[in-house]
């Protein structure tokens, strides 16, 4: 019973990941500028990679026929998921900061640029 629940929850998480990946790829193509496209890419890494990895871990834990190997699979997936969750946002942060500092990415359409104000205040 508990095994079946684990497998179904895991499959649901993988499905969420598929949806996030599709949404991210549409966003990558349709969004207007660099920063919004980067937002779509992050949806792809967190929603489309971390969530399915946790789903895979749950599915592996639910599969009795894998024997002890299910713990290896689950552990590796969870560790990989945590690492991606730590590292991917930093990569995005560094890219966005560098693009903003270099002024290479056009900031259009723009509603509010807090970083620009912060930098202007710091330079005063």
């Amino acid at each position: 019973m508990i095994n079946e629940i684990l497998v179904y929850v895991g499959e649901a998480l993988v499905l969420i990941g598929v949806f996030c990946d599709i949404a991210a790829s549409i966003g990558m193509l349709r969004f207007p500028n660099f920063y919004t496209r980067m937002h779509a890419a992050t949806v792809g890494t967190i929603g489309g990679a971390v969530v399915p990895l946790i789903g895979v871990a749950l599915m592996a834990l639910g599969c009795d026929w894998l024997g002890t190997y299910r713990f290896f699979l689950a552990g590796a997936s969870i560790v990989a998921g945590i690492l991606i969750m730590l590292l991917a946002p930093v990569g995005t942060h560094v890219l966005a900061l560098a693009a903003h500092r270099a002024g290479l990415a056009p900031k259009k359409p723009l509603v509010f640029d807090h970083l620009e104000e912060e930098r202007a205040r710091r330079n005063d």
Binding site: L83, L86, L87, V90, H93, V94, L97
Partner: protein, 264 residues
């Protein structure tokens, strides 16, 4: 849609289908049988064979056994060539000092914090690749390349000067690099030296006992498969490759103005 976009889509589809077709074809003309071939059988039978102690190389991993046992001399020559290339780059950059007086800038605090975390994780992965080289895929060169990521990250995130302030200086890395190569050399002639002392026959690059030379590196220590000379070779190669790549990366990331002061 623009014409160029349509061209890109069509070329991607053609590329994927032709790749799939070539992969399913396997080759042109007569294809050899898919079962295990004679040469592979020889390698598999002699990589780990406790029943024939004179015909084994004491590790489970065939690739490491081939690289450091069956063709050990060749790999030693490769390492020596790599060492020569590093020495050549150091010679070109002779006299160029990395000034550690100026303050390094580095990236934002967010990047620095997470990099500090991954700077602990990467050496663990590298060490596991090096110490498991005779059991699982991996080995010294791969582990050294993984460990070099630490230096790349440190130079990019904290800055080269910070690295030098922390004590990672050119002479120290050169010393580490030389220690790695000396270790490889000593492991290669270790049994010959031991044979001279005891007074028995031995060969260079000998791992396990042979018919005419009965001394060997330890294959098992307690119930852990030690791997004989393979483990030593992997560890020393790990040190040598890591130090070599570190040195070249540090030299390449010195500012052009600093280099131009010396090399005109």
């Amino acid at each position: 849609m623009k014409k160029s976009e349509i061209c890109v889509i069509i070329s991607i589809v053609i590329f994927i289908f032709s790749l799939a077709y070539i992969t399913s074809l396997g080759g042109l003309g007569y294809l050899p049988p898919v079962d295990v071939r004679k040469l592979a059988q020889i390698y598999l039978a002699s990589t780990y064979n406790p029943y024939q102690p004179t015909n084994t190389s004491s590790g489970y991993e065939s690739v490491t056994a081939i690289i450091w046992d069956f063709r050990g001399l060749d790999t030693f020559f490769e390492t020596a060539v790599f060492y020569g290339a590093i020495i050549a780059s150091v010679a070109i950059y002779r006299g160029v000092e990395i000034s550690s007086k100026k303050k390094s800038i580095g990236m934002s605090p967010i990047a620095k914090t997470v990099t500090r975390l991954s700077l602990i994780l990467i050496p663990i992965v590298a060490a596991s690749i090096a110490f498991h080289g005779h059991l699982t895929p991996g080995g010294g060169f791969q582990a050294g390349s993984v460990a070099t990521v630490v230096i790349v990250l440190s130079i990019m995130v904290f800055g080269l000067r910070r690295l030098v302030q922390k004590g990672v200086t050119k002479p120290k890395i050169l010393l580490l690099r030389s220690l790695g190569l000396i270790g490889i050399g000593l492991t290669a002639i270790g049994l010959v030296l031991a044979g001279l002392v005891i007074g028995v026959n031995a060969y260079i690059f000998q791992n396990q006992a042979k018919a005419m030379a009965e001394i060997s590196y330890p294959m098992w220590i307690d119930d852990v498969l030690f791997g004989g000379s393979l483990l030593f070779f992997n560890i020393f190669e790990f040190v040598a490759v890591m130090a070599g790549f570190t040195l070249v990366l540090m030299l390449f990331s010195i500012e052009e103005e600093e280099v131009k002061k010396v090399i005109k």
